[in-house]
Point group: D2
Chain length 284, copies 4
């Protein structure tokens, strides 16, 4: 399709590092032996926020037993209101480190400002950049100078090229281990919290060599849609998922309505592993 090609190449005008033209093979990121982007399924699961030592360790045990590779959990929580719970901060990081020690799970957690990068690095295996910070270029450059992988969430109203350019900011500082994360875009539809844009996942897998993770929890804002959207993400070509799980969603300090309870999470994991293996081995 001549015009499609033109358009794809327009969008990449200016990329040096994120585009597939410059790096035809898909990037595989190795996190101490866990591979992201090699065709296997990566699952990052855990609570929205680290709320207490007990909550985190209980969830971590559940996550580990399920076969997931990463524990997620926010220690620094950017919140719309200054009066909302902002996370346990350094105490939360400490619990994450403890959960890693206890379970062998890898950790992914968000860093919200450049001055905290070193502290967060000490307790995590992947640094997460949240949607609100996708164009916080100072922070992107700071994590671009770190030696750990970075998962970059798409901004709520970021176009695909703005998202890839944000990745370019990190890559351009020398950190080649960037993972993209689609988490829904803001549209008029308000039945869901955001609109999960799975076409963008398929598009980015063609335009870029970087791995792509999907967040079905924040995008939908409804736990009852998470299973369907997780399967759809895998079928769309995502390299993994980041899923909110809480031992007791009704008591969660944030985002309870989008968190799976342990039973639903275990059933989903079983399906996802089977589906991923089937797609990898049986389809074109």
């Amino acid at each position: 399709m001549t015009n499609v090609m033109l358009s794809a190449s327009n969008i990449l005008n200016g990329f040096k590092l994120a585009g597939r033209e410059f790096h035809p093979d898909s990037t595989v990121i190795d996190v101490d032996g866990i591979k992201i982007g090699d065709g296997s399924l990566v699952i990052m699961a855990g609570p929205c926020a680290v709320e207490s030592r007990a909550q985190l360790l209980e969830t971590a045990a559940l996550i580990q037993a399920s076969g997931a590779q990463f524990l997620r959990g926010g220690a620094f929580k950017p919140r719309t209101s200054p009066y909302s719970f902002q996370g346990l901060k350094h105490k939360g990081l400490q619990y994450l480190a403890e959960a890693r020690e206890a379970t062998g799970l890898k950790i992914i957690t968000e860093v919200t400002e450049a001055d905290l990068v070193d502290d967060v690095l000490a307790c995590t295996d992947i640094l997460q950049i949240g949607a609100r910070n996708m164009q916080n270029f100072h922070l992107l450059q700071a994590v671009g100078r770190s030696d750990k992988p970075v998962m970059l969430k798409r901004g709520m109203s970021a176009t695909i090229d703005e998202w890839l350019y944000a990745a370019e900011y990190i890559l351009n500082e020398g950190n080649s281990r960037v993972i993209l994360c689609e988490r829904g875009i803001r549209t008029f539809e308000d039945y869901t919290r955001n609109t999960l844009d799975l076409s963008a996942v398929a598009a980015v897998k063609q335009l870029s060599h970087l791995p792509v993770i999907v967040d079905p929890s924040h995008s939908t804002g409804r736990w009852e849609l998470v299973a369907a959207m997780s399967k759809a993400s895998i079928a769309a070509g995502a390299d993994g998922l980041i899923i909110e799980v809480h031992p007791d969603p009704m008591k969660a300090r944030c985002d309870g309505p989008q968190s799976l309870n342990p039973d639903n999470y275990r059933n989903l994991m079983s399906d996802l592993l089977k589906l991923s293996a089937f797609i990898r081995t049986e389809l074109h």
Copy 2:
């Protein structure tokens, strides 16, 4: 989740016929022996527009050989500009009837005004209501009085409840065979023609008992994303797909960039049948 339930029930406030509360079992629509909504996969494929007798018959043979059940093709084409090709109209209907005769495929084609319902009914098995007409209530009522199934495309900026209320207009006239079709919503993202909203598919399967079809061609506007989005749709719970295929997309009179060529279509069909069977039999 108490608040999720509340919200789901708010959205259904006022539905009498489209909501699952009033009809807990999924509706299965029988089109002369073809079942839509029973868990099997329904494929509707064909060109955007009926362009000529030869083009339609060639495509129909391809569609039939692939294992799809329905031939799609527009005879009446609503177009942004009055100077664009508007379809072959009654001549197009005649070719569709001929293709049905030749292949045994069922037909789905769009009806754009109430006065044409009878003419279209004579040549089709399913009446399609296009996105621009989702709230053309006069037309909805007219097809609601017909005795054939109606596939109702979601409007480009319709919320889920507006979509279900549009279905309610048809159901309320006595036609209980309504199929919903998600075809992308209009957002800021312009890499794709529209943003395919697969969360809405999962949501509508919970809120309503009506079957849901996905259009990966119009939603993405790019043939190279159609395969990924077709698989994702099935994984999200869609009952079927409506896919644009053209014997020679470069020569299509409309929507060439989103049409699969025959080879890509055949490969996709093979994957979709396997994936659907796997999901139906192996997952929760």
Copy 3:
């Protein structure tokens, strides 16, 4: 600005009748002596729906005393739900005709289907096409064959070029008296019912020779924003306003929250007449 010119000319690619290139002077529409588009201010005011003879005649008297030229009021009301009040229909048309007789006001009312055009024509001075029907091409062609002016509301998710192409459908049938109406677009912002796009008003005044009216009531959905948006519309270059007024908004059968009460309406009218005269005479 070379690139701006290019872009403006791209958007007009394909227009024959709606574009200013083909008709450099602004079109002035004469409705039995009332001029629309000549620099003076046109006000269309009245209730969302004709609810009763008494309600309409009371409002008409108020509108006439205020100095407005047109009475608005819906007899056929397209509604999201089939179970909502759909208007008084032919009875409503009759009351509009009676109000015209009683006050000398001109009438503007919506026509929702081609088969009703003749009936509506008998009771109105301007035919209104609602936002949901902006791309109901059959209806556009029908009003394009009538001999009365047509006000075409912008669709909720219509781009500027789609809107002008819809006008082209009417013009192309021979009716040159088309008035555009901006009524808000659908966005993520939900504090207002829609987002009033006044930049589109300024853009359309440059791209097209057709007059433009603004609807501050439907766009905001909040009566307390109507005064500010009315003044802003005039300052942006609109040729007039269509405003919802109700003798008792709390008792309105639809859209009460966006209707002005008589006192607020009278104060606003006084401001608008002064502002329009000032802008016409004192500014560049």
Copy 4:
């Protein structure tokens, strides 16, 4: 309107400092004798970016002669691509200080990271927070601890309540001199760069006591729409405007297409001063 009141009060649930309930009188911000929010018109004008000493001083002289109170100009420019011109940085700040000295104009310029707040403070009278940083809470808190006024641009996809909560972050640190700036939201309409949301200006003037400035240049992205949108902003109730002016827009290093040339700017200023005085003295 009972339901409107309810809704307005819902949106303010949680505000302590930004809401009008807690501070009924409009806040007037005094910047060394220049008042913002007292009903007079404040104009901030200048180039998108400080490009050179000569360019800035030439523009500053023009701005001063026009009767504007503030010179705008970016020294630190957040850009989508890491390879685009990022501003003259500290050199740019120095030129701004020099222009202030030469003309007596007040300065407004953007600060993009917490570590730069002190450097920027030394050369500016108002700190600007850009749209991309509206929810960079670390930066908001840093400027909240400074002793100079802060102009907070609305994020491209921020709702009104998210915008007011971002202001709350600054206010909550003790800096009560916060100015809001509407600069367009991201929607499907792409004729304009963004969609200027003037209803939000009127809404925020009701919900909050803080002054509101409008940016007609970034919102439209087209210089030929700036005059109309500037007038509309004043009529909508804005306390001032921030306008891009460049001595030679064709040669601008960024955002040339949205910059006024000197002649157009002077004509506009003359109109705006007259319009503002008229509205203040003659209307309700």
